[in-house]
Symmetry: C2
Subunit: 410 residues, 2 copies
Amino acid sequence: MISIAILGHGVVGSGVAEVLLHNEKGITAKAGDKIRVTRILDLRSFPDLPYADLFTTNFDDILNDPDIRIVVETMGGLHPAYDFVKASLLAGKSVVTSNKELVAAKGDELLAIAKENNLNFLFEASVGGGIPILRPMDQCLAANEVFEVAGILNGTTNFMLTKMIREGMSFDGALALAQKLGYAERDPSADVEGHDACRKICILASLAFGKHVLPEEVHTEGITNLTEQDVAYAAACGGVIKLVGRATRTEDGHLFCYVAPMILPRDNLLADVNDVFNAIMVRGDSVGDVVFVGRGAGKLPTASAVVADVIDEVKHLKARKYLFWGPGEKGHVRDHRLAPTRLLLCFSCEEDAGALVQIGRMFGDVRMISIPDAPDNEVAFVTPCMPEYLLEEKIATFTGMTLTRRLRMY
Amino acid sequence: MISIAILGHGVVGSGVAEVLLHNEKGITAKAGDKIRVTRILDLRSFPDLPYADLFTTNFDDILNDPDIRIVVETMGGLHPAYDFVKASLLAGKSVVTSNKELVAAKGDELLAIAKENNLNFLFEASVGGGIPILRPMDQCLAANEVFEVAGILNGTTNFMLTKMIREGMSFDGALALAQKLGYAERDPSADVEGHDACRKICILASLAFGKHVLPEEVHTEGITNLTEQDVAYAAACGGVIKLVGRATRTEDGHLFCYVAPMILPRDNLLADVNDVFNAIMVRGDSVGDVVFVGRGAGKLPTASAVVADVIDEVKHLKARKYLFWGPGEKGHVRDHRLAPTRLLLCFSCEEDAGALVQIGRMFGDVRMISIPDAPDNEVAFVTPCMPEYLLEEKIATFTGMTLTRRLRMY
């Protein structure tokens, strides 16, 4: 029998306990050993639960219990999760976490400690909830040169954008609905400002390209400024707006990595992923595009991914395996403004601005876009593909034209 | 250095050699050892290849070479592939295969031999080409009770159906185009009659539910009879026709397993998978629906999956791991006619048949469907959900009505 402890009895932690109890027979068969939760750390007490006697408020009860071989961290946040996970690894316990903030900030350090101590540190649930993605990606990586990872990494914003696209809702209306349905928190900023997606693309990019990518290195735009008109312009371009996290490898081995609302063409495999679903695309030289789709959040999907990691650690208590990446490197992630980009730009033009002449002179042949309800003095077009800073330099020369909208094309 | 042999230098076998040579540095790093192809079995010779000296026409050269630890079988077909794979395992060599016919027919036996001899027998490429599916499914299975696996498992027919749906092509026109583009063979029967999809759902169902499912136990319908009118009826139902392989677990632990064209509702995650893409959906109690999408065939995607398996076997030469299922069992797969089903039925009706009265009397409230160009005497409706044999008994009582079309609803 293998004893495990759970840190944090919130949504995910209680789900882990539930999945372990509910599928005990099958899980024992798969793990080759009985898995038993012997301690749960939480500041609250849960006197009505059948396993109420397992709770402790003192982490040392877990750290100093030599029988506990695996620690499951589902507290979220950086502290004290980081301190507890690090101490657990240093004490010879393998760790499973669902905490994307922790992995995005400290993954390289914790992986190195796990490696030194011949332990496992797994975190499948930190990206894409229950979708198996990190290990399949590792598998893709084995026989492929991967040059891009991109995804719809946040279910809340994808739900909101789906409502804005399909039902013409406003941003505020979609947010209110998401909050009502429990998809969005009362303070939705981590979702709608892109920080959640940013942490996930950091983890994916670190794994895909072998060096740690920190959230502060990733240019991050949210969806808070998106309007019904943006949705209409995306449709007029033949696409849909999605909040995308994207990491691409440059020819010289550096990365471009950013999170932003992007117009995806309709035939992109990510374009049809709607509602709270997440999807991650891996682009490899041999395999082409592979996409993994599923619910990216929720108690049971996330818990099932945590439990799958626990089973895997039970099967590999003596042998490290799987995922690894090294520390980050200054300059590894390049300024996103150097990345070749196409933008959809809208300008409000003064009557005598000669907008079309100015645009034509600067960009040559461009694709003009119009939507039915646009004001008469609005001009919109899709730029050619060039580094963003160059696009900005060019449009700074326009006179009598005020930039009113700017959307990235995938 | 680990020596491997390749059986069959066809599309996939030559792709394996290509991927191993092209990504050698990365592959060595991932496998932790250099992988070297030392023998290739093929009846043909390839004097112009840089590795022309590796070819042999005699399997014994491989079987009796103790240095060869891993045999890659990419010949296809049942014989002699089965004999060679079995002999290799009995001789202490691990095996990787891309051969779905072999795994669907003999998977349980070969897995058992591998287990007895503490070897690995991996076949990720046999389903979904380069899409990592078998191991992610194993991962899903670890912490979930899986009750359904379904997929678009054949890229050729999915390409053809996409052309029929989007461009109004006929079956013959779509087939001719698929052949012209090299997606369909000159004899397309394995694809269009559903046999290829059948083998793949056998492998998926065997893995998902633990007992071998043989192709002859799986009711298989192809797409050869589909017409433009079927496509139009599917659209009128709010769906699209896809060739689906599906295995569902019944409450008493048996299976329903079949391959058939089905009308998928537009919001089904498989409905938007088009062209030559494959997709596999796994439905688990905790994780919900998870879908894996990618190119299901082609030289390099398939080869990359084979190479990923080879790397995994190199890393686990001393320890068996992963996938396993037991032998089949009579009655494990139940007669598909017992499965609860909804059908779209069309009847050509005699003038005085009183079709609506007969239908109403037999089924109560049904959903009537019409398409613009239907003949005046055609009546179409979607049945309630009940076992197929019951539906058949009911419609056998109709008088003055001739069944002209019957499509399964997903």
